[in-house]
Symmetry: C2
Subunit: 96 residues, 2 copies
DNA sequence: GTAATATATGAACACTTGCTCAGATATTCA
DNA sequence: TGAATATCTGAGCAAGTGTTCATATATTAC
């Protein structure tokens, strides 16, 4: 079936959201449940600012969802599509 | 489960290969069967050089496979993982 | 109110990416 | 052989990306 230019761009944008090792590692951590920005930053050994910047991109692409609790913001995967995409990619990498 | 830094990079590289509208459109065309570089270039309204550059990246990521026939080179999707990734991405974009 | 904590944001800069252009390589045909 | 065709490749450059740093916002505790 034919792919419109708009859909092609949207698809590319979606995959772009997963096209960076930092973001992939964020997704990987969130597979185990929600996490705050600071905890993510510590696990990833990145500054909170860098993590926050990346989370923004993931949020805009609807890959993660934020929940505010006091002054903390907990992030989790938006839906199961994300996990499926991640796992399928991993299969390909691990040579499926 | 824990994701090594190497795997994170490999995953990011895989998704990077799909993170451009031109490449997504190439994949989309190849869903219907193999195609030569010239035919792809015409359908995509891109120069053959630009298409060839992109195919190189897709080849290196093992998303497409080349078959040489005379002076033509026919490309096709490497395996069904590629189509699955594409379709899953499309589902997400079309709001699944 | 002020101070401390958690996150978000904008600017700046090094690095990467995708294109064009020119030219190289490979194959077919006369 | 030489010309034509199909694809590939390297250099160059404009545009995009991910980080750091400084600062802003929001919430809690005092």
């Amino acid at each position: 079936m034919k792919l419109t230019e708009l859909k092609a761009i949207q698809l590319a944008e979606l995959f772009s959201a997963l096209s960076d090792a930092s973001r992939v590692r964020i997704i990987s951590l969130l597979l185990d449940g929600e996490m705050g920005v600071g905890a993510l930053a510590e696990k990833l050994d990145m500054t909170e600012s860098a993590v926050s910047h990346q989370l923004r991109g993931l949020r805009q692409m609807r890959l993660v969802r934020a929940r505010k609790a006091g002054r903390q913001v907990f992030y989790r995967l938006d839906d199961d599509h994300v996990e499926k995409l991640y796992r399928m990619g991993l299969e390909h990498v691990e040579h499926g």
